[in-house]
């Protein structure tokens, strides 16, 4: 044991940097597609026909009650059997989008439910269209209500993308294990990787807090 030594690891800074970028890219892709799933799904759960509602609820329950790692394995090993051989990064993006989408549905649905009926009725009574009621009356207050849960889900997502390393998608954690295999400085490598994640999360949280202050300027509790 030769004490904590980072110098060897820092030779690989380019690898770590590309890992960070891939983690960020993966998170952004998943956020995008997962949010689309979340929005459409929440609309479907709330206003869709019965069979659609049941299907969506089953989807949400299955995803939320099984580990993401297993979902990742299933997506990664199922796609080839449909003659679809995707690179690990793509498989991870798909699996995580499905995962994030299920949580997004729950969060957005709760946000829609949090708007009192009286607000919607007040909008209707003004003689504006249903879309206008949604756009101008429901949307922003609902966004404010889901903002804390949604942003912490994004933080969990960024951290969760690390399991993509288990199918060799080249994101940050994978880069860590690669450098470990070259340097054998396991503890230093992973401490360093954890520190990078921590910094990313702190930056994200700061941005979200600032975003919340800018977006939601009206006083809370009517």
């Amino acid at each position: 044991m030769t004490g904590f030594n980072l110098s060897q690891i820092l030779h690989y800074q380019d690898l770590f940097l590309s890992g960070v970028l891939m983690t960020a890219l993966l998170s952004c892709i998943v956020m995008f597609f997962g949010s689309i799933i979340g929005i459409l799904g929440a609309v479907g759960v709330r206003w869709g026909p019965r069979p659609v509602q049941y299907a969506l609820r089953a989807y949400v329950e299955v995803i939320r009650n099984t580990p993401g790692l297993i979902q990742l394995f299933i997506v990664f090993f199922v796609l080839p059997s449909f003659e679809l051989r995707l690179p690990p990064f793509h498989a991870a993006a798909i699996a995580f989008s499905i995962y994030f989408g299920a949580y997004a549905i729950e969060i957005i649905r709760a946000g829609l439910d949090s708007i009192p009926r009286s607000q919607i009725e007040a909008g209707q009574c003004l003689g504006i269209t249903r879309w206008e009621v949604f756009r101008h009356v429901i949307c922003m207050p609902a966004l404010r209500n889901i903002y804390p849960a949604f942003t912490s889900q994004i933080v969990l997502l960024v951290l969760g993308t690390s399991i993509a390393s288990q199918i060799s998608a080249e994101e940050l954690f994978y880069m860590g294990s690669f450098v470990e295999s070259r340097t054998y400085r396991s503890f230093e490598v992973y401490t360093f990787v954890c520190a990078i994640y921590l910094v990313m999360v702190l930056i994200l949280k700061t941005v979200f807090a600032a975003g919340g202050r800018i977006l939601f300027r009206w006083p809370a509790h009517d």
Partner: protein, 216 residues
């Protein structure tokens, strides 16, 4: 190569006990630490509040996977000798569950109205007794649903232990999958097992929540 058979299923269910064991350890050791964190976080003094906050932010700011390998490689270094993986893994999960429990229970404590503290203080009992008999029970009731929710999160989290070679449910799945070349079937079985453990807990959490909202 061989086909997936009934004995594989039994092997999976057998491995489930390690999943359960890890969760029990994480809760048993995480709960006292989590309570301490919650009390520190709501303390009137700044230092304990600050320490608890940093602990929670750091543990929740790194991936669970990172936490696992950090302790897996870190604990032997610290101890200066080989340490059974189960110990390192337990420490990681303890820290993980404690940070979340600390956060959840802090929320519960803060949700109890200030007037309850005042009322308790008027009884002329110690600060700890005020918590033990007046605030704590109310806070516990309010934080029970998210606590059960955390249980589900922990169960799912234990799947990551497979990466350090610990044979719990997911690792057992990987082993069988490698032997049978039937990953889809094997992982589906694994998913079904996780699902049937987690779903009742999720529903319980939801029922508790509903009861709480109904009562409020």
């Amino acid at each position: 190569m061989r086909a997936f058979s009934g004995s594989d299923l039994i092997y999976l269910l057998y491995a489930l006990q390690w999943t359960v064991a890890l969760v029990v350890i994480a809760l048993a050791m995480g709960a006292p630490l989590g309570l301490a964190l919650a009390l520190m976080r709501t303390s009137r003094r700044r230092l304990p509040r600050y320490i608890a906050m940093v602990f929670i932010e750091v543990v929740q700011g790194v991936p669970l996977l990172g936490l696992l390998v950090f302790f897996y490689f870190g604990v032997p270094l610290l101890a200066g000798r080989e340490v059974a993986p189960v110990i390192a893994v337990s420490i990681a999960f303890t820290a993980y569950s404690a940070s979340f429990l600390g956060q959840i229970w802090r929320g519960g404590i803060e949700a109890v109205k200030g007037t309850q503290w005042d009322a308790a203080a008027c009884l002329g009992i110690t600060k700890w007794q005020q918590f033990r008999y007046v605030i704590g029970p109310q806070a516990f009731r309010m934080s029970l649903p998210p606590t059960v929710g955390l249980l589900v999160q922990l169960i799912k989290g234990t799947s990551l232990v497979s990466i350090v070679g610990f044979v719990e449910l997911t690792r057992a799945g990987q082993i069988i999958s490698a032997a049978t070349f039937q990953p889809l079937l094997v992982y589906s079985c694994v998913a079904v097992i996780y699902f049937s453990v987690c779903l009742p807990l999720t529903h319980w959490a939801r029922a508790l929540e509903g009861r709480l909202n109904g009562a409020a």
